[in-house]
């Protein structure tokens, strides 16, 4: 296993990523956002996060850290700085019941399925319902069809997923953690959708 290491896509659309530790915590425009990933085991949650976080870094950097909690900062065009704090959750079935502890208080949730697996799409719908029932009100929910590079084996149609997302008021995007396609776009979209703190 292992996430592929092809060259990461750089961010687009005038958005820049900056080193997370360099930003000042006292900057009033810094937004801290807790983000959780949910989805069937093996759909690529960990790979998506690693791709997002690692892609921003100097590939020659030897620093490796655990991947259960990662943070990454994004600077938006409106000079808002969003610091994502990404909470990984254990994907094994026996730990599924613990998920509410993790998504409680999350600002955003990425629900991931694998476009080659209809079961994972059903599981994604289960998570969406869970979040609607128990997530924080106003949580930004995103539906992600991952492994888009395997489109030859696609078994969840783009149309079905799109419709489902629209019905549930979610942003939808297909990604590939392998080729890095749409990974940064995914996080940028979330950043844009986060509620801004009221100016004081």
């Amino acid at each position: 296993m292992g996430c592929s290491s092809s060259v990461p896509a750089r961010s687009t659309g005038g958005l820049n990523t900056i080193n997370s530790d360099a930003s000042s915590a006292t900057d009033s425009k810094e937004l801290r956002a807790k983000l959780v990933l949910l989805g069937d085991s093996g759909v690529g949650k960990s790979c998506i996060v690693l791709r997002f976080v690692r892609g921003q870094f100097d590939p020659t950097s030897k620093v490796t850290v655990g991947a259960s909690f990662l943070s990454q900062t994004l600077a938006l065009e409106d000079s808002t700085i969003v610091k994502f704090e990404i909470w990984d959750t254990a994907g094994q079935e026996r730990y599924a019941a613990l998920a509410p502890l993790y998504y409680r208080g999350a600002a955003a949730a990425i629900v991931v399925y694998d476009i080659t697996s209809p079961e994972s799409f059903s599981k994604a719908q289960y998570w969406v319902k869970e979040l609607q029932k128990h997530g924080s009100p106003g949580i930004v929910m995103v539906l992600v069809g991952n492994k888009a590079d395997l489109h030859e084996n696609r078994s969840v149609s783009l149309q079905d997923a799109k419709e489902y997302a629209e019905k549930n008021n979610m942003f939808f995007i297909e990604t590939s953690a392998k080729t890095a396609d749409n990974i940064n776009q995914l996080f940028e979209e979330i950043a844009k959708r986060l509620p801004r703190p009221t100016e004081s």
């Binding site: 259960s68 943070s71 502890l101």
Partner: protein, 485 residues
């Protein structure tokens, strides 16, 4: 990128405790001292109500922090100093209120006992496989380091210090997983790897009153400081607790009947071991800890009597993965000497086609001094420590004193029965290892932290500061002195 050593924020940063007390003694702080004392008196006179108590403390801390910002002796201080003052305040207030709020309602006491019992049963038969811990990440001997961190949780009263025990435990696990992932060329370990190990370590560590400790942190750690990575790892231990409460056959991939049978025989064994120890009625307040350690001391005679049996079984499970020691309390065959085992192992190794694989874990084995760089020191030291730990644990498991194994390697294990080393016996196998007297605390702390120099420094600083001494200063008018009770 975060995830490394210093990202737990002020939860593990050195605390300027002396500075806080120093400033509190200044005349200009008189108003603050008065408010704090008045809060503590009022609070202490009310009947326990966890929800209200927590809200009251959180609100008080928040207000005081606001006041610090605006008045001498803190006005004009940097954010860092203010943060540190807030930490000092939290520690001061909570040390005073500890006996009043810790495990202060019967439900919590009951939960503590139930959870403790469940873990004492589970720890006798649970295997890493039951939790989906992959073989390449299994490392029970090194997990002892993480267990020790967690077991320190009852040595402290301040929420921050208790939280630090949890975070240090998580940090040890993360480091071990990371090393293992490098060795086996895996992706950096994620929650799939981390959570199961934390659950396993928690069950094996089984610190008394874990439930109350976690609730206490949740309620009284200032909410603005229980965020980010600290919050993530704290959530993980809450989730470990929740998982443990609900463990049944299915959640361990076991047949339900099989699971019940294992629980029953574990219970029988436990009852046999503690036949003459009356179960302490854990009433919450005051010296629950002290009483516990007294009870345990009293029990040591009976423990010692049984220590041989327990010893072989307990540590056999922990240290000798492929041994045929049964979990059902059947007699275990006589333990071989270490040198016998070593000879046998060496002979087998020589015939092993996978010899190289076995030594992969020890990258320095074939290195020459000239090959090493300064950068290797840390990992070399880590490897060395793991090796020593394994060796000592193995020796302990064999019932042989490590110091003497080289000289006289076939010391009969029966010598241990009479030996006066209950602490060591406990260390390796039983959660009761927590019941250190305060004299042991310092030396106790010297070992595990050595794994991570930074942590070591912090913890030394933390333990070097004895709240009792410092609180003396303000004691005269202090309305409650749990320390003296």
């Amino acid at each position: 990128m975060e995830g490394g050593g210093d990202s737990f924020g002020s939860s593990t940063a050195p605390l300027a405790w002396h500075d806080f007390l120093e400033r509190m003694r200044q005349p200009s702080a008189a108003e603050f001292v008065k408010s704090i004392k008045s809060f503590i008196v009022t609070f202490s006179n009310r009947a326990p109500d966890p929800e209200k108590d927590s809200a009251a403390v959180q609100e008080f801390l928040e207000n005081m922090e606001g006041a610090f910002r605006a008045h001498t002796p803190w006005a004009g201080s940097s954010e860092e100093e203010l943060e540190s003052a807030g930490e000092g305040l939290e520690k001061y207030v909570m040390t005073k209120l500890f006996n009043r709020v810790f495990a202060s309602v019967p439900e919590d006491v009951k939960s503590d006992e139930e959870l403790f019992e469940k873990m004492s049963l589970l720890q006798q038969f649970i295997r890493p496989e039951n939790l989906d811990i992959k073989p390449e990440y299994q490392n029970e001997t090194s997990w002892l380091l993480a267990q020790k961190e967690l077991q320190k949780i009852n040595m402290y009263k301040a929420p921050r210090d208790k939280l630090a025990c949890v975070l240090n435990c998580c940090k040890v696990i993360n480091n071990l997983l990371l090393n293992a992932s490098v060795v086996s060329n895996e992706n950096p370990p994620g929650a799939d790897e981390f959570l199961p190990v934390l659950i396993y370590v928690t069950i094996k560590a089984n610190p008394p009153q874990l439930h109350s400790n976690l609730l206490y942190i949740q309620r009284y750690r200032r909410q603005t400081r229980l965020v980010s990575e600290a919050q993530y790892f704290f959530t993980n231990i809450l989730s470990a607790e929740s998982f443990i409460w609900n463990i049944d056959g299915e959640s361990l991939s076991m047949n339900e009947l099989d699971f019940q049978r294992k629980m029953d025989s574990a219970r029988e064994r436990l009852l046999g071991l503690s036949a003459d120890s009356e179960n302490q009625d854990n009433q919450a307040n005051l010296d629950a800890q002290d009483r516990k350690s007294e009870n345990l001391k009293a029990n040591r005679n009976s423990d010692a009597r049984l220590s041989m049996k327990d010893h072989v079984q307990g540590s056999g499970q922990d240290m000798r993965r492929d041994s045929d020691v049964t979990v059902d309390g059947k007699p275990v065959e006589r333990v071989q000497s270490i040198s016998d085992i070593e000879k046998k192992g060496a002979a087998e190794l020589l015939n092993d086609d996978e010899l190289n694989k076995k030594f992969q874990e020890y990258p320095f084995l074939f290195a020459r001094a000239g090959d090493l760089t300064i950068a290797d020191v840390e990992s070399l030291l880590n490897s060395y420590k793991q090796l020593v730990l394994r060796y000592v644990a193995l020796a302990q498991g064999m019932g042989v004193s490590p110091e003497t194994t080289l000289a006289q390697s076939s010391q009969p294990p029966s010598d241990l029965v009479g030996s006066e080393e209950p602490e060591n016996v406990n260390d390796n196998e039983k959660s009761e290892g927590i019941s250190k007297t305060s004299d042991d605390v310092i030396s106790e702390n010297d070992r595990p932290e050595a794994l991570d120099i930074k942590t070591s420094e912090k913890m030394t600083q933390k333990t070097a500061v004895d709240p009792n001494d410092d609180l003396e200063a303000l004691k005269d008018e202090a309305p409650c002195q749990p320390e003296n009770a």
